[in-house]
């Protein structure tokens, strides 16, 4: 009886789904939401980027003047360089996360506990992380410098105040912050590999290195590609820790694209130019994604 009514339900479902109007109706709400929350603001940003506008008064159309200024703006290119540097470091750190997940997904004791420990930074809010690391980096009574002085260092570095190291000092918490997230993704992907494949390899005499390198990695290649895109795009639009910890300073040494955009729009009251930077950031992200997809693209999708 129940079987019968079930097929009937599926039938009417199929009938309904073949009706184009119904499909439209189903898609419409999410389409509207996406339009209102994502695409229309993007178009508006593009529109504002053609204006001279202080965010309050009237707008003046100046065509591509903002973009011309952007191309000549050395501070902007410096921030682009910093953002890409962050992207490079993030991608390199992915390799580390991968190794950790490989170890965790092997049958070691306490893997579950370790996995949770790695996940903790992700559960903290960015501002809390920033406050924590501000304490660690504090030049005179921070943990790090206390430790260095304990080791006998006379004049430990001013981590966030020295333009030559501020950027790298700030990369550490950023990369630390996302460790749990990527480890979780890799861990889940590795756990998804059917044990039959692994067992077959072991029977064939593969050692742990071969197992990891020749069997596991190729099987999760799809996931790795996705994480690379996530890491690069996430780095390019990165904002929060930098805003709280250095505000882009000192002397713009840790300015990234998003923090520079914020400076221009909300500090200098130059919304037109801020929108131009935002739009350039969007273009950079799109291009970066496209390039990564292109380079990592492979025709055969591994299936198991």
């Amino acid at each position: 009886m129940s079987f019968l009514s079930n097929t009937k339900g599926v039938d009417s479902m199929n009938k309904m789904m073949s009706d184009k109007r119904v499909i439209t109706l189903y898609i419409l709400p999410s389409l509207l939401l996406i339009m209102i929350l994502v695409y229309i603001p993007i178009v508006m940003t593009g529109y504002y980027s053609l204006m001279k506008w202080d965010g309050i008064g009237s707008m003046k159309f100046i065509a591509l003047d903002n973009y011309q200024e952007l191309i000549k703006d050395t501070m902007f290119w410096k921030s682009v360089y910093h953002s890409f540097l962050l992207a490079v470091f993030s991608v390199i750190s992915l390799a580390g996360y991968l190794i950790i997940s490989l170890v965790l997904s092997g049958k070691i004791k306490g893997a579950n506990l370790l996995r949770k420990i790695y996940l903790i930074p992700m559960l903290l809010s960015s501002v809390a992380i920033a406050q924590l690391w501000l304490r660690i980096y504090h030049p005179s009574n921070g943990m790090l410098n206390h430790f260095l002085m304990f080791l006998g260092m006379e004049d430990p570095p001013n981590w966030l105040a020295d333009p030559s190291i501020a950027l790298y000092a700030i990369f550490v918490p950023i990369i630390w912050q996302y460790a749990g997230f990527y480890i979780l993704i890799y861990y889940a992907a590795l756990k998804n590999i059917p044990s039959s494949i692994i067992e077959a390899a072991i029977i064939d005499g593969a050692n742990p290195w071969q197992l990891a390198y020749k069997i596991k990695l190729p099987l999760i290649a799809g996931v790795i590609k996705v994480t690379i895109v996530l890491a690069v795009v996430g780095s390019l639009k990165y904002f929060d820790l930098i805003y709280v910890m250095t505000g882009g300073g000192p002397n713009g040494a840790s300015e990234v694209i998003a923090s520079y955009m914020y400076q221009k729009a909300f500090r200098s009251f130059n919304f037109g130019y801020g929108s131009t930077i935002a739009f350039a950031l969007l273009l950079l992200c799109v291009i970066a994604t496209w390039v990564i997809r292109k380079f990592t693209h492979s025709d055969e999708e591994i299936q198991y």
Partner: protein
């Protein structure tokens, strides 16, 4: 058939409901009141930034004043909206863009106010000033809110910036309060030699370093050189302004400022001073409660704090009674307010009452004159108020004087100057460029 139509209808209703909840905007909020004859009920919206949490005393005074005002004007209700500083600034911007400013709100002087005035969003308040309020203000305070000779907001606070110092540390090394810049440098040298950080400075916030530069510019070039350079009648490449920048870098080389000052926020730097790890701290009088009445800070420390005026530079044109400072927040009335008359009345009432209560109850020095003879205040307040009466000049904070674009360049250059990332010559040149570009 019926069933299908029914389910379609259901879906359609769902979609519409979703879309509506997504788009519904709060149309109620901005609406303030009907224009009113006297008996009609009028509501004034008042947006400010003194939350009950972080500015308890301020908040209490505001509530008292509003209660009193409503008692005297039974037809008027004042509705408050309170936001934290940063949120307040952002919300004000958004409201301005959609033309829904509150009837009365808070603004900052000069550069902050200008875009709003140009957008015709603030109402001129000269009529309020002329109705007897003008004489109550300390002279020169309302000018900071004037654009083209019309005053668009009335100040509530007035601050000057003394150099606070730790008397115990000074005593320990037999140091006297420096009267001249040479003395000052000797004090710095002695402290450095003894391993004490001389000056707490949190230059991540940048305006903190700007005050040091402004004082040196004032003492070397006189009160008007910097002002004129900023308003365009002079030049920033004036030798005295370059000299002031050189002196800043000399102080940095002497290690006058705490370690890592360019990466520390003002709050972190203040903590160094209150923890007695640094001997001096240049800051506005808004911090006076922390050194006098604030019970959260140990009394032993509060008793150790004194202040002195920024020393004179030999051969410089500035005098010791010239201060860096200026009015803080002021009240504006929205040009598009539907209850403008009532709003102006409220502003006037508020300014008067605030002037009477703010020093004694919240430790805020109001922009209106204070009679020190018959109120009970900590000695440091009385000293500061007396200094204010003697002041020969008050130079408004440079980043407030400039328009937002130039102000940002100025602040960034200050950080570079302190970090020795720019030479004094380039420092002046880049200022001149941005100032002449944005004039």
């Amino acid at each position: 058939m019926f069933k299908k139509a029914y389910s379609l209808l259901c879906i359609a209703v769902l979609v519409v409901a979703l879309a509506l909840t997504g788009c519904s905007s709060s149309t109620k909020e901005g609406a303030s009141s009907e224009t009113g004859s006297k008996d009609k009920k009028v509501t004034i919206t008042f947006m400010h930034l003194w939350t009950a949490g972080s500015s308890k005393q301020h908040n209490m005074i505001v509530n008292d004043i509003i209660k009193e005002f409503e008692k005297q004007n039974p037809n008027v209700t004042v509705k408050q909206e309170i936001l934290e500083n940063e949120q307040y600034k952002n919300k004000l911007k958004v409201l301005a863009a959609s033309n829904e400013l509150p009837d009365v709100g808070m603004t900052w002087a000069a550069g902050f106010l200008e875009p709003y005035v140009k957008g015709n969003l603030f109402a001129p308040l000269d009529d309020v000033l002329d109705s007897g309020l003008k004489d109550q203000f300390v002279s020169g305070t309302t000018e900071a809110y004037a654009v083209n000779n019309k005053t668009y907001a009335l100040p509530l606070e007035l601050n000057i910036t003394p150099v606070y110092y730790n008397k115990e540390i000074f005593g320990k090394y037999h140091l006297d309060v420096p009267k001249t810049y040479e003395d000052f440098k000797n004090v710095v040298q002695t402290l450095v030699k003894n391993g004490v950080a001389p000056i707490a400075l949190g230059n991540k916030d940048r305006w903190t370093g700007s005050m040091w530069y402004m004082y040196l510019a004032d003492r070397i070039g006189g009160a008007d050189t910097l002002k004129n350079a900023i308003n365009g009648s002079g030049t920033f490449e004036d030798p005295s302004l370059i000299k002031a920048a050189e002196e800043i870098q000399n102080l940095v080389k002497m290690k006058a400022f705490i370690k890592g000052f360019n990466g520390l926020s003002n709050d972190e730097a203040k903590a160094e001073f209150t923890n007695e790890k640094a001997a001096m701290y240049l800051m506005g009088t808004w911090d006076l409660p922390q050194f006098t009445t604030n019970e959260d800070i140990p009394k032993e420390f509060r008793n150790k704090v004194g202040f002195f005026k920024f020393p004179v530079v030999e051969g410089g044109k500035g005098n010791i009674d010239s201060w860096v400072g200026g009015p803080g927040v002021g009240l504006f009335v929205s040009e598009n307010s539907k209850a403008k008359e009532e709003a102006k009345k409220f502003v006037k009432f508020f300014i008067e009452k605030w002037g009477e209560q703010s020093v004694t109850k919240a430790g805020v020095i109001p922009a209106t004159k204070v009679d020190t003879s018959n109120i009970n205040l900590p000695q440091m307040y009385i000293d500061v108020l007396n200094e204010l009466n003697k002041a020969s000049n008050i130079t408004l904070f440079a980043d407030v004087q400039m328009n937002p674009e130039a102000a940002q360049t100025h602040l960034n250059l200050i950080q570079s100057l302190f970090g020795e990332g720019v030479t004094p010559k380039d420092f002046a040149k880049q200022h001149q460029e941005v100032l002449s570009k944005t004039q």
